[in-house]
Amino acid sequence: MVKGRLKPGEVIDGFVIEDIAHNGGMARIWQVSRPDIDCPILMKVPVIGEGDDPAAIVGFEMEQMILPRLTGPHVPRFVANGDFATLPYIVMERLPGTSLYPLLERLPLPPEEVAAIGAKVAVALDSLHRQHVVHLDLKPSNVMFRESGETVLIDYGLARHIHLPDLMDEQFRLPYGTAPYMAPEQVLGTRSDFRSDLFALGVMLYFFATGERPFGDPQRLKGLKRRLWRDPLPPRARNGAIPLALQEIILRCLEVNPAWRYPSAAQLALDLQDLSAVKLTARAEKMKRDAFGTVLRRRFNPVPIETVKPQTAEAQLANAPIVAVAINLSGSTPDLDEAKRRTVARIIENTPDARIACLNVLKINRIALDTSLDEEGRNKHVMRLVELRAWSTGLPTPGGGITFHVLEAVSPADAILAYARENYVDHIVMGARAESAMRSMLGSVSGEVAAHAPCTVTVVRNRTRPEN
């Protein structure tokens, strides 16, 4: 066991201790180096002593379990874990710059900036949730950025990996988290709902856009529980410059019942990236808090919160895919259109929280600059949108809604693939081009999409009678 405090120049398991980077209550963070590692690295050492918060140790153990299992640009790269028998530590990549914390000095931020930051954080959450991890302590000081611009979520001390034992669970009577950002179900002790992170992001967006925390910073359990029945002042009542769509998004994230929030971080990211496509409800127009009577009723007759078990958390997320349906408005047949609609209807029935994005590619000339108006002076783009809407008539309404998009591109396959990559699409549905001289000459769009797509692709084709 290494006794006492580390000193610069000491060497632990090959890591040379350089400077102290942060001296926190729960852990000390050292800047370290090792000759075989080419990126800047940090060593996090928990503060263990008599009378220290036992949650600090358990949180450190959780991080030792979870961090090595995470990959991708949105988490700090894991390097090594130190054994408790000698010195407990975690060595990980050191990220450049600062967290979002210094931003709090210049609130409120312009709404466009709030939405842009929110979208980037939502994308990082989507990546984390797909790796089976709920962060449960999302706040400005835990959000950092790479030089390439991606958001990195740090500090997994309160996180829950759905596939690993939860050392925090059953260990402590009080809920753990950061008071202003904690979701209502987290206050009640649930630690396996991915949507708890969407609530925390909603608190961040509210704070960034208005300069005020929606639920203050309560210091006691009683104050924490207030968010179960007391709704926050709508953001637009604090800052009239906030667009209706942004208020809609923020208040949906702050819903008490997780089932009324966005079903996935990816769907939230989509809305934050394009405020014009957000479906507005009564949330967008709200200018006052709920009336006294309503609040009183809620106090004694609480909003239902469905408890998500670890076993069902992933099923909930899987019910909310983003599905892109590529619709060829001119080259299709009524039979193929119908078959495609049936396929999409079945997807909505099986995954009721799906978001359906109907796409059409408006081919543009490779060389000439297209005039976007046709001879009759009608905007091609708008006409296509009208036709897309008509195509979707009769489909059941999915929880995530249906949106319509006309992509202008030279190559339809490239346009569909780019859309799928940029919008975290889980499933592409498209029709097969009929057997024709065109297809043998140009190859099939669906074949190219299926070969290169980052997700599942369903190619719909009507079965033909075999010809003898």
Partner: protein, 246 residues
């Protein structure tokens, strides 16, 4: 070293074969059989022979309550288990009976303890069903990591010095790091008669180097195993439950 840990085979040859094949394909270097090789299924003789050849090539093989009852006329079980037990007694040859009777109740190797049921009284065959049972087990042994079976449903318990016992129900094959500063009790699911709602044969792989445990399942030919149970005239419920893993 990669250990394959199996428990509660219960005379189900098809499940046993599937697990052995899956464990070998995954690179298992040593086998541990936590007992209940016989009982319920129609192939107790074959399963005992296979366990014996595993033991001869270095496997740890322990005695479970069903193995114990073969040579112990005073044991009482529920009516279905008793019918299966009496049938199994008639099927097993003298060599198999002698092999089962001589098996140890527990095995300790370094940091690890292997036992069929709760280690505080191995011959009482107490079930480890919850955190309090696990606390009793962990209080009665010193090994840092122990493995038991008997329950037919996989679970993982852990505790830190002075802390409470945490329960975890494995939900996927994701490797679980058994952190060295904690003590762990892993309850294996059953190879031959799973009861956690998943009919596939359960087993686990433990990597002693990385201290990672994986709870795994192997699909097997349930129809054949169930057909043999019916053909042998054993209680039909023993065949039916295999399809549902109940």
């Amino acid at each position: 070293m990669l250990l394959a840990i199996l428990s509660d085979i219960h005379g189900n040859r098809e499940a046993f074969e599937a697990v052995l094949a899956a464990a070998r394909a995954a690179g298992a270097e040593r086998f541990v059989v936590l007992g209940d090789i016989v009982g319920y299924g129609a192939d107790s003789e074959w399963c005992t022979e296979t366990a014996r050849s595993l033991a001869e090539s270095g496997a740890i093989v322990l005695r479970g309550n069903h193995d114990d009852a073969i040579g112990n006329a005073s044991v009482t079980m529920n009516p279905t288990a008793t019918m299966a037990l009496e049938w199994t007694r008639r099927q097993l040859g003298a060599d198999a009976r002698a092999f089962l009777a001589a098996l140890p109740l527990k095995a300790r190797e370094g940091d690890y303890l292997f036992v069929h049921a709760d280690a505080s009284a191995p011959s009482d065959w107490n079930y480890v069903l919850d955190a309090s049972d696990a606390g009793q087990h962990l209080g009665a042994c010193e090994a840092r990591v122990s493995f038991c079976g008997h329950v037919h449903k996989p679970a993982l318990y852990c505790t830190a010095p002075g802390g409470r016992v945490t329960h975890f129900c494995p939900v996927a094959a994701t490797p679980v790091p058994l952190l060295p500063q904690r003590r762990w009790l892993a309850v294996m699911g059953a190879v031959g008669q799973p009861r956690d709602g998943n009919p596939c044969a359960a087993f686990a792989l433990y990597d002693t180097g990385s201290a990672e445990l994986r709870f795994l399942r192997a699909a097997y030919d349930i129809a054949t195993a169930a057909g043999k149970i019916r053909a042998a005239g054993l209680p039909v419920s023993l065949a039916e439950r295999l399809f549902e893993g109940r």
